[in-house]
């Protein structure tokens, strides 16, 4: 049974147009459906404005969806009361993109990592202390640095602190929203390796939101490609990268710069007006769907 199922998720934002203008409605997420199996890494890729980040936030109800269904561990997330939601959130955590702005600069690393335990009233003071040190070691940080402030850590280390905090409550699902895009290439690889290690050790499931297709190809089992709020293609990573079915996916893949001077990609132009974006997903191959 899937750990997470999202069905016909919609998020509309209304935008007012001046004082007298009638507000216009923007569909940031438009009938998005997918499911994630336990232990899987599911990638949500797309360019800016594709709705990938909003989708991730709707699942955690950090943003309230307009309509649709989110089932997590067989609970109807959108129907949960405040208190039930709070308890459910122990099992699904988010890691944010920017390790520079997502950590409170006035809190010591210790306090940042411990906070979820305090909020959920877990353990005694001593137990929490031990747990925080254990989490620090788990993400490859030195517990001797627990009393430092965020600015005393490098970008990669800050992202590890964010990860330690997310792991504090032993979640089963981690929504990782562009977790390495603010990091340098060499550090990016360290954090990706850590995510892979943690997944194996803690049996984690990832919803990996990213714009970097090379990275997604490398670590995701399955991928959904989003464009203007809709999923245009979804399938097993290898198959989708090998034989993309949607014109947009083909254009997107052809735009990836190739780190080889002798290989020039054959660029495929994308013209949104030539394609009907409202087409429903249909199966093009085993486990491979496209809106064509």
């Amino acid at each position: 049974m899937p750990l997470l199922t999202v069905r016909n998720l919609v998020k509309e934002f209304s935008r007012s147009r001046g004082w007298w203008g009638r507000p216009s409605v923007v569909r940031a997420v438009d009938s998005v459906s997918f499911s994630i199996e336990p232990g899987e890494t599911f990638g949500l890729v797309g360019e800016s404005g594709s709705g990938k980040t909003t989708t991730g936030r709707c699942i955690l109800r950090l943003v309230e969806p307009t309509s649709g269904e989110v089932r997590f561990q067989d609970r109807d997330v959108l129907a949960l009361s405040r208190e039930e939601l709070r308890r459910t959130r122990r099992d699904m955590q988010i890691v944010f993109q920017d390790p520079y702005s997502s950590l409170n600069p006035r809190m010591r690393a210790r306090t940042i990592v411990e906070e979820p335990l305090v909020i959920h009233k877990l353990g005694t003071k001593t137990e929490r202390r031990e747990r925080v040190a254990e989490l620090f070691r788990l993400v490859g940080l030195d517990p001797a640095h627990l009393d430092r402030y965020p600015h005393e850590f490098s970008g990669g280390q800050r992202q590890r602190i964010g990860l330690a905090r997310a792991l504090a409550l032993n979640p089963s699902l981690i929504v990782a929203d562009e977790p390495v895009s603010a990091l340098d290439v060499s550090v990016q690889a360290q954090v990706i390796n850590l995510l892979i290690d943690l997944q194996e050790r803690l049996k984690l499931t990832y919803l990996f939101i990213a714009h970097d297709l090379r990275l997604v190809e490398h670590i995701c089992d399955r991928v959904a490609v989003m464009y203007r709020g809709r999923i245009l293609e979804m399938g097993h990573t290898a198959a989708l990268f090998r034989s993309p079915a949607h014109a947009y996916t083909r254009a997107l893949l052809s735009a990836i710069p190739i780190p080889d001077p002798d290989t020039r990609p054959t660029r495929i132009e994308w013209d949104a007006s030539s394609v009907d974006l409202r087409l429903p997903l249909r199966q093009v191959d085993q486990g491979h769907w496209a809106a064509i």
Partner: protein
Amino acid sequence: MDPSVSPLLDVQHLTTVFDVAGRALRAVDDVSFEVRKGETLGLVGESGSGKSLTAYSILRLVQPPGRIASGRVLFQGRDLLALPEREMRKVRGAGIALIFQEPMTALNPVFTVGDQIAEAMLVHGLATRAEAKRRAVELLDAVRVAEPDRRVRDYPHQLSGGMRQRVLIAMAIACRPSLVIADEPTTALDVTIQAQILDLLREMREAFDLSMLLISHDLGIIAGSADRIAVMYAGRLVEQGPVRDVFRSPAHPYTKALLASIPSGATGRRLKAIEGSVPPLTELPRGCAFAPRCPDALPQCQLEPPPIADIGPGRVVRCFACSPFSVLR
């Protein structure tokens, strides 16, 4: 290197420091490279490597507490570091143009894009007001902006990120510079737009006979756009050579590690990461700055910075472990 062709830009032993708390921190340390006519040199490095500061130093746009401490920047045979500011102003824009990273902030929100393209030509006295207006439309057309005669009256906020970057490119080529410095020109853009802008830059290079210094952290971009590559680490240039040779057989352990850390799809799931992180300027080691992270480090790497060594046609490396110097000592 062909000695008969004198380079368009010849940077020699450039050193730029930050005066902080009584210390001169070397953010760009003894950097030498050249850009020949018609070629694109890709300058690669991670954040803090000094690649952008190198560009600002060439244009003498370094702000205090930063300061160019030593070196020469020969452009068309003249040392830019010795020019009076008045002369330098003529070089900026008309000789060397800069394309910034952030198309959102590099444009002035209160002027139309046409005004901003025309302004550079007017400042340099290259056109009358009417001519500049007409040229602005032509330039927008050249950078593939649809309906240029209408767009010329648009304000920056009316344009998408990709369109703004096209406007910045139009501004850069407006005064017919011979060298364009593009500092991470596509970092803020989506991958499909990035591909279009990189294509456009290549096209402009042909059409306007430009030489280019392309600064990027993305080896994929460098592989597709540069003729030669220079790799920077912690303020020093560690390797330089023809792009094909360096990608085929990188010499410096940092270049090797950087190429190996790129995710390449199907291959296993773990990436080859470089352990540790770039040292801050305040804590640069005495020897090679990469030594603490280097798998091939020798005892002498901790003691003194390695010298620059020739290792093949047009290829130099700054490394004890991989240069002929290591054999000599």
